[in-house]
Each structure stands twice: as structure tokens, then as C-alpha cells.
Symmetry: C2
Subunit: 200 residues, 2 copies
Amino acid sequence: MTQRRTHTGRRPGPNTTKALIEDTARKLFAELGYERTSLRQVGLQAGVDPMLVTHYFGGKRDLFLAVVELPFDPGAVFEAVLTGDHDSAGTRLATLVLSILDDDVRRRPLLGLVRAATAEPEAAALVRDFLTRNIVTPIAAQLGGEDADYRATLVMSQIMGFTLTRYVLRLHPLADHDRQALTADLGGTLQRYLFGELTP
Amino acid sequence: MTQRRTHTGRRPGPNTTKALIEDTARKLFAELGYERTSLRQVGLQAGVDPMLVTHYFGGKRDLFLAVVELPFDPGAVFEAVLTGDHDSAGTRLATLVLSILDDDVRRRPLLGLVRAATAEPEAAALVRDFLTRNIVTPIAAQLGGEDADYRATLVMSQIMGFTLTRYVLRLHPLADHDRQALTADLGGTLQRYLFGELTP
């Protein structure tokens, strides 16, 4: 059941309506994925006129980017993964990445981001800001050093490509390769990008 | 000027019309890119009813995948890059990849493939077949060995991620990093995927 009125019994004001739409959209995107969620559905389930969804958020991509949440807390996770033994950090990060992406539900927001990014230049800019804030900057903060941002974007490039190849394109045999072997092979690349020798 | 009739002066038959649409689409996709090309435009420029384009090819993605051509000859290029000194093969491949992707025109079909792949599951299957046939298999043929296909898909994962991060998302500082340094850093990863030690 959807709450259509505030507890005071009055008609919800604009802020409440907006929040209601956001909650509903977050839930539907998580349950159905990006493609199968429509603005109309979000409006209907939130109990508001679907036109209001468009009024507040514009298109589906804007709504998605307004409500998308990573399936982990970036600050805490990258601190946990990147502090401790340097030599095994790449493997720890690969283990984390695969555990999220191999989970049908947890990988949805990440696939949604890849889809949104490739669809239109304006969406790409929004996704870029989101990924910079939530992934590149927290990883770079753990690394420190002059080339920390560059290293973090190299890490992103391999993770994004891995997501695209294994989960979107489902390119064989990467798509069904043994997870443990894959973790080690991906981990080697991430290790080099995080702490290895790069070109000065 | 577009040829609307065959040299015999008769109305073009279905095969000629289809070929005409394909030629026009190839040209427009190359000139304007995937997004700015419309089925209507292709029809108008080919001098045929735009409905015929839909009739022969369905949607824009289908038309794109019917006419897309890589901006290089995969068999020849991968043979040239992957035979010769093993130790520098990764750098040679990275040099090739960057020379194509840093070229505004030559990268268009590749960006179109990434866009088509992420848009819909059915398009992803078509792109998967295309990439397998034109990139994964030719690379694997040069590598030989039991894990050649797996290695080739790992290579694809880094190249796709690199394309997405540097050219679609334009994630800073990867997007404007010095090309020579980037070639070396990307080359190290490709080298490992091609000929390095992987998990058995």
C-alpha cells in the first residue's frame, strides 16, 4: 500500500510528493531494473499523477540519477579494502567487485549507471559526476599521492569494462568463467593500477 | 547526389534498394554518429520512403548493426600486432587502440557499438556476436592455446572499459591524460592478458 496523505490527513505538499516519488522510484528501479521501470508506473505506484513525475524530474534518466544509490557505502568500503596489506589490495577489491556484480539485485544500480551513461551526452555528464564523487574520489583519498586520481580512474576503467563485458554483453567465455580464477586475474590488474609501477 | 535508379533506368528492385539504404546508412552513421542519425534521414537521403527502411531493417539499432564496420581490418591488424616480439605486443595493441579511439571519426563505430550494446538485451546479443566474430576470435586465433578465448575477452573488457571511461564518460583525469603515458599503462594490462601469467 502506498501512503497518499501525510499523517496529518492533509494533501501532501510539494516536498512530500517529491520524496514520495523518489522513494517509489528507488524501489521500482531496484526491483525491476532501469529498463522495465517507467515514469508512468512510478507515478501510479506513488499515487500521484504521472505528469507530476515529469514535472519534478524531467525524463527517466534524470529520475534514475536523482535516486540511484550504490549497493555499498563507498567511504567505508574503500577504506576497508584499501587499508591493510598493500600486496593483496587488488584481490580484495576484485573480490568486492565480483561479489556485488554477481548478485542479480546489487548489480542493478551499476548496470543502470552504465546504461544511462551511454544513452546521451547529458546523462554521461551526470554519471561522470556521480562516479567521480562516489568512487573515484573515495578511492583516490585512500591512495594519496600525486597520481591518486589517475590511478582511481584506471581502476574504474577496468571495473566498467568488466561490467559491460561480463554482465551486459555477456561475452563468452568471460561471462561464465570461474569466479575464483577471475577474481585473481582481475585482481592483478587492479593491484597494478592501485599500487604498481606506472609511467611517470 | 544519390542514385535512385539502376543504370538500366528501371525502378530498383528490392536488393538494390536494400543495398542503397545500407550504403546511405553507413555513410550517415560515420558522418553524424549513431545518435544524430535517424531512419527518416537515411530514407530521405537514399531517396526511398523511410517506411521501407523500417520494413527492411526494423529499428535504428538493427540498421546500425547491419552496416557497422570496424575502422580497421581485424584479421590483418591483429596478425600484425600480435606476431613478432611477444614482450612488446601489449604496447603495440595499446598504441593501435589509442590511435583509433583518439581519432574522432574512426572511434564512431566503436562508440556506436557500446551504445547499441547497453540499450537493450536484444541489441546486446547482436553486438556480442559481432565482437566475438570480429575481435575476440581473430585475437584468440593469433594467441592459440587453451585459454586463448578467455584471454581475448579479458583484453576486450579493458578496451571496452577504456572506451567507456575516456570517451563516453570522459572521466577526469583519464580523459585528458598524456597519450604516451596512457599507452604504456594500458599496454601493461593488455600484455598481461595476452601473454602473462593468469590463474590456471
